[in-house]
Amino acid sequence: MSIMPNVLSAPERAAPVDAFAPQSRWLLLRRILSQPKGVVGLTLVTLYLLLAIFGPMLAPQDAFRQNFAQTLRPPSAAHWFGTDQLGRDVFSRVLVGARATLGIGVGGVAVAFLVGVPLGVLAAWRRGWIEAAVMRAIDVMLSFPDIVFALAVVAILGANMQNVIIAVGIVAIPVFARTARAVTLSILAEPYIEGSIALGANPVRVILRHVLPNISGTLLTLSTLLFASTLLSASGLGFLGLGTQPPFPEWGTMLGESRSYIRSHPYLATFPGLFLAVSALAFNLLGDALRTIYDPTSRRVARRPPILSLLRRRPPPGEAQQQSAEKATDLAVSVRGLRIAYRTGEGLLEVVRGVDLAIRPGRTLAVVGESGSGKSTLLRAVGTLVNPQEVAITAGAIRIGGEQALGLGPAALRDLRRRKVGIVFQDAASALNPVLTIGNQLAEAVTAGSRLDSETVRQRCIALLRDVNIADPERRLDMYPHQFSGGMKQRIVIAIALAQNPEVLLADEPTSALDVTIQQQILVLLTEIQKKRGMAILLVTHDLNLVARFADDVAVMYAGRLVESGDVASVLERPLHPYTQALRASAPGGSEGRGRHLRTIAGEPPLIGRLPSGCSFRPRCQRSANRAECASSEPGLRAVAGRDVACVFAEEATR
């Protein structure tokens, strides 16, 4: 009945860049039809539109002819849907009524769109008093329940079809205006708008060429969803006897007339109601399909039935794991032959392709790689935090503090995470729950798996905050995450990670969201804590300078595999793999190289799932020079000059 509910779940955020493909209509159609609800919705909507256009012509009998000899007949061969109280053919009336019913919906949405969208865009563009006035007006309009507002409009203007269109249209104006303003604001905040203004484009051009095309998807979705609710609202007015006036058929009005006969002749209500409900359903389905295309937040990850995740439960067999079992016990982390794949619509997509890692207690291992190299997925897997519904660990073994980490039941997994693992994420702001106090979140970490009285917990929390050098910890316990600066939040995340004295601390780009001076503070803090507690750190980063300063060992990752690993001094000072060498050489630095060209790596990192044959670095490699050895097979890690390198010609670099 009401318009608002649907709309509140409509996207108020514009889709991100990738949600859009070229603006070809055919592509949109293909995307709609790739979803079951889209197929059903679009088919039904098309049928309804055809019905609205051709309905009156298809009607077998005169929808207005009264026949008092044949009143209230049940459905029969002559009258498929029966006859009404005046003996008119219900089937013909339903067909004829389609045009009025859908027409009111189209008209209402058009009115709302034409008034609401310009208002919303204007408010977002001009800001200031215009925006304030528009928003206030919307507030006032939204203070009336929509059907009540529509009733008032009808009461003022009188009950007829045109006025119903105006009434339901006016009711939907604030919804359009508000959404248009919200999406326009979000588009205006996009850098490409600033880019185009900086280019010298005038405001009209910016709105027409950049804003409107980019909000059109959201508005299309909204229109479709609103169409369904406008339809219901308008027919509701008809049902109340305040819509289209008799004898003209409209589905809502027909329902209203049938109300008195519901006890004796229920079929009178059945058919108009069915047509109405299915049409609303059709537009809702289509709107939903559109929303999936245009609103990123509504898209669900393609997930498979959890059959595949059983792989994860079962410890993968293989002697690699057996043979390393004794040695691995004194390592803080041991990873053997780990392979990880994303579950996608097309099947498994391997992102980590056979990785071995070993970290001794008290040491820091840095995994270095570019985006898409699989380094973050690797870290999450070590932290036992990959979502089995999205990611499959297809082979290999992970041991943390000597304990097998794969194939555990939920309770054992929780226990392992609690005792052995602490995690620090790149974005401290999203790593803390925004609605809980710091004290709450720390206490949770402290009390997990044990029973402590509240004073002990409080003292422990305070001690933890002291450990990460936060002044005045007693007062800070009652504060919320948003009240801290970025650096402070990261300290709190570290404190939570330390709460159960983990054997290994996993840090995923812990400083790249922070300013340089703050980065330094956090890294110094981490090394100090490591010295005190003797835990191992697995650091994932893209920053070689940071590795040089803070790590003991380094593993360079490229396209899901390690290409070079060893202690920092040998790997970074005398890199042997061409990728590591190029990374070292391509960083600008020092006045000595001023003005000279930097050494570059040709091309860009390969996309997962589209790796070249043989060595995956081959297409960008200067050393390879199209030698056959590089293309024939993917080189494995082998020991050369005090570190492991995955290059057939690694020795060439030692000369």
Partner: protein, 372 residues
């Protein structure tokens, strides 16, 4: 479309080789009363009395942390923001003399390249459309074939080929997108490019490509660059002159060799100490840690705005006679009370805004405890 806009004549007497002149420019935000609530918003001094000149064909770098006001300064130079005080002069034309149409025309000369090419290109426009728009906006090369020639030339200049013209941004890689953004900026033959963190959103292995491209273009097209960055290594590599920004002001500025080679302001010193140099791996001698974080621009500390974090002030306070006890520790009285003067370096090729710019001190202590 529109005819090429006539640009206003240069103001006589400003005919120097300095193509960008920023004179005592400030930009404040807020302070206006809100509609229907009547509450005045607090004033943020994003940029506060900044001056610098950029010689034609050189590269000027603005360095700072987030919140230092460097992005606002970039937008002041392009004319996207109007200064609250002071004057920006581009190629002899003061921007304050231009109306908004004149400013738009002026942007043919000064182009902006943004940090994240993923976001700075309209997702619904092909590379060709994007480049065409730049020409249309300024009414250049209106002949179809001429236009195509120009686009082909520019596409070649940035290292892309014709096959890329029909693609949408999401079909390009990060490096290619940034090349498109640069192509859009140079297609109208501007004289100044303002580059806002041009490589920091790119993968390490791609950054070097873009840096080299920028260097090539500067040489080929005689461009003047204003680079906004937080990366001192990049500054040392590319820039001729540099301004180090802290809380809306330049704390040190001048020749790159001087400022980066022998920094005199304690803030620059600590930035240089942490800056990534590929050569030394110094695990035994960790870099000094600067205490605390940058204060809110809503509450800029009095006196020298850096005194709340200044390691030099802490050390000097030990021996000084006139010290002040502040919430952040003991500092010499001038630091906490008087705005520091701009002191030129002995050679005169850089200035530092510090009371004690010429005090020589040994390595400072990096293990002091950290406050919020």
């Amino acid at each position: 479309m529109n005819a090429p806009f006539p640009l206003p004549p240069r103001v006589p007497g400003t005919d120097t080789d300095d193509i960008v002149i920023v004179a005592n420019v400030s930009r404040h935000f807020g302070g206006r009363r809100r509609f229907l609530s009547g509450v005045a918003a607090p004033v943020v001094r994003a940029v506060d009395r900044v001056s610098f000149r950029v010689q034609r064909g050189t590269c000027f770098a603005i360095v700072g942390e987030s919140g230092s006001g460097k992005s606002s300064l970039a937008r002041l130079v392009v004319g996207l923001l109007r200064p609250t005080e002071g004057e920006v002069t581009i190629d002899g034309v003061p921007l304050s003399t231009l109306d908004s149409a004149g400013l738009r025309a002026m942007r043919r000369k000064v182009q902006l390249v943004l940090q994240d090419p993923r976001a700075s290109l309209d997702p619904r426009m092909t590379v060709f459309d994007t480049l065409c728009e730049a020409l249309t906006v300024h009414g250049l090369h209106r002949e179809r074939t001429e236009r195509l020639d120009r686009i082909k030339t520019v596409i070649g200049l940035v290292g892309l080929n014709l096959a890329h013209l029909g693609r949408y941004p999401h079909e390009l890689s990060g490096g290619q997108r940034q090349r498109v953004a640069i192509a859009r900026a140079i297609i109208c033959e501007p004289e100044v490019l303002v580059l806002d963190e041009p490589v920091s959103a790119l993968d390490v292995s791609v950054q070097a490509q873009i840096i080299n491209l920028l260097a090539d273009l500067q040489a080929k097209l005689a461009l003047t660059y204003v680079i906004i960055t937080h990366d001192l290594a990049l500054v040392e590599h590319m820039a001729d002159a540099v301004g180090v920004m802290y809380l809306g002001r330049f704390v040190e500025q001048g020749d790159v060799g001087e400022v980066c080679g022998a920094p005199r302001h304690p803030y620059t010193q600590s930035l240089m100490a942490i800056a990534g140099h590929s050569a030394p791996i110094s695990r035994d001698r960790p870099a000094p840690v600067l205490e605390g974080s940058i204060p809110s621009p809503l509450a800029i500390p009095p006196g020298c705005s850096f005194h709340t974090r200044c390691p030099l002030a802490r050390r000097l306070a030990i021996g000084a006679t006139t010290v002040v006890e502040t919430a952040d520790g003991r500092v010499p009285r001038p630091c906490a009370e008087n705005p520091p003067p701009s002191l030129p370096a002995p050679g005169g090729r850089s200035t530092a805004t510090c009371h004690f710019a010429d005090e020589r001190l040994p390595d400072f202590d990096h293990r002091s405890n950290i406050r919020n």
